[in-house]
Structures are given as C-alpha cells and as structure tokens.
C-alpha cells in the first residue's frame, strides 16, 4: 500500500487500541507536537462516526420498511388488530 494508506491504517490501529504500548506512546507524543497529525486523527475519527451513523440510518430505513409492510399488508391484518386491541380502553 502507498504511504498515505499505511498512515491511515496506522492511525486506525491507534484509534482501535491495537498498537503496541511503545508505538502508542510514541504516537501520543507526536500528536501533542504535530498539529497536522492531530487534525488528521480528528478527521479520521469523524469519518468513522459518519460511516457508523450512515449505517444506523440505513438499518432504520430497513426497519421502517418492514414495519410499514406489517401495518399495511392485509396478510398481517389479524396480527395488527391484536396489537391495536392493547390500546382499546
């Protein structure tokens, strides 16, 4: 892999706590003095957050689709009537 990709991999291992203690210590120190590296690390962490948020929203869309199918398809009418019965006073 090219250098920039290896750097991403190295930072990923750092974020996931997979570096050796001595590697982590060295990187901790570099992050303190190297603003650019600090920014790169911040953006990489942000990237993972956004990907995970996207994954969660996709899953929510899938669940909404399943729930919609359950509530509108007449095949499930008996089941839905039972559900609605719980809310009858």
């Amino acid at each position: 892999m090219r250098t920039s990709l290896n750097k991403l991999k190295f930072l990923e291992n750092y974020i996931e706590n997979q570096l050796l203690p001595e590697e982590k210590l060295l990187l901790d120190a570099r992050i303190i003095i190297d603003e650019e590296l600090k920014d790169e690390l911040y953006c990489q962490e942000k990237t993972y957050q956004i990907i995970r948020a996207y994954g969660r929203e996709n899953l929510r869309a899938q669940l909404t689709r399943v729930e919609h199918e359950l509530f509108v398809n007449p095949v499930h009418k008996k089941f839905i009537d039972k559900i609605k019965d719980f809310f009858k006073k």
Partner: protein, 181 residues
C-alpha cells in the same frame, strides 16, 4: 453479485428475519407500553430502537446471549421505555438515550448533508465502508461480497475509500457548520 444499490442498502440481516422479530416480540413490548399509558407510536419507536441495539450488539457480531432472543429484545425495550418516558427523558436521539449504545456524535449531523458528503466518495465506496465498519463483516466476506480477488485487494480498496471520505471531511471541517444542523 448484487446490484450496487442493493449492496449499499443491505444490512447483514434480511427483511424476513426482522419481520419474524416483529411478529414474535413486538406484541410483548406493546403490551408493556400500553399498560403504562404509552401510545402505539411510542411503542413503534421504542421497538425500532431496541432492534437497532440488538443488531449492533448481537446480530452483527454473532455474540452468544444467555437469554432467549425474545427476552433480550424485550429487556432492551423495557430499559429504553423506563429511561425515556418513565424518567421523563423524551424524544432524544438513540445515541443519547442509552449507555449500551455507542454514542454517534456530539452534534446531530443532518442526514441530507451526511449522505451527500459520503456519496461524493461514490456509492460503491460508501457501501464497502459501511459493510466493514458498521455491519462488521470480515475482510474475507467484504472481498467476496464486492467481488475482489483477495482480502488484500479489498483491504487496499477499503483504505482508498476511507481516504476519500476523510479528505472530504478534512475540507468540510474548515466549514463544519456546512454539514451540521
């Protein structure tokens, strides 16, 4: 191989499995919430959140659980209900509701901007990243699903995609208000 849009949307789990969980577990959750003066809409929201947590904690990692699936999901839903409504903590995003769930972000990133930002890296890239980092498939499975010859080439591609998205974020971070609401 599946079409790209299918791959991008798919979780690890089929609609059929989720339908089965709705049929088996939703009634007990509804019963619990209705008896506590909750509404059907609240029950739907709580159940959806409970399934997301179940997916993230159990299904995608194939973790073994000691309780039955039904008891486990009901337990999450009950916890969410008690936390959210009984304690009067209404309508917070999933990430803030429960410690069990990894916190997504300090800010609420808008879906519209988020998707636009991610899709700049290309649909295939986004699907690949989501499959690895969210659905937690192994690199061997990712390689197979996306038609790579080897795990190594899939790994290289994963980092290229990650770099693309990271670079967009790097640029955007300078104007962070552009993609938060």
């Amino acid at each position: 191989m599946n079409s790209l849009s299918q791959v991008a949307m798919e979780s690890n789990i089929s609609d059929g499995l989720f339908m089965r969980l709705y049929k088996e577990v939703f009634p007990v959750v509804v019963k619990y919430i209705s008896r506590r003066q909750g509404t059907l809409e609240q029950a739907k929201d709580i159940f959806q959140d409970a399934l997301i947590i179940y997916y993230e904690q159990v299904l995608r990692t194939e973790k073994q659980i000691e309780q039955t699936e039904k008891a486990y999901i009901f337990g999450i839903a009950r916890h969410l209900w008690n936390h959210q409504f009984k304690l009067g903590v209404n309508c917070e995003p999933l990430s803030d509701k429960i410690e069990l769930v990894e916190k997504v972000n300090d800010e609420q990133i808008s879906d519209k901007h988020l998707t636009r930002l991610l899709l700049k890296a290309g649909e295939r890239c986004v699907a690949l990243l989501k499959t690895f980092y969210y659905d937690k498939l192994s690199m061997t499975e990712v390689a197979e699903r996306f038609g790579f010859a080897s795990e190594r080439s899939a790994t290289v591609q994963k980092f290229k995609c990650l770099e693309k998205v990271r670079d967009f974020i790097k640029k955007k971070t300078l104007h962070y208000e552009d993609f938060i609401e």
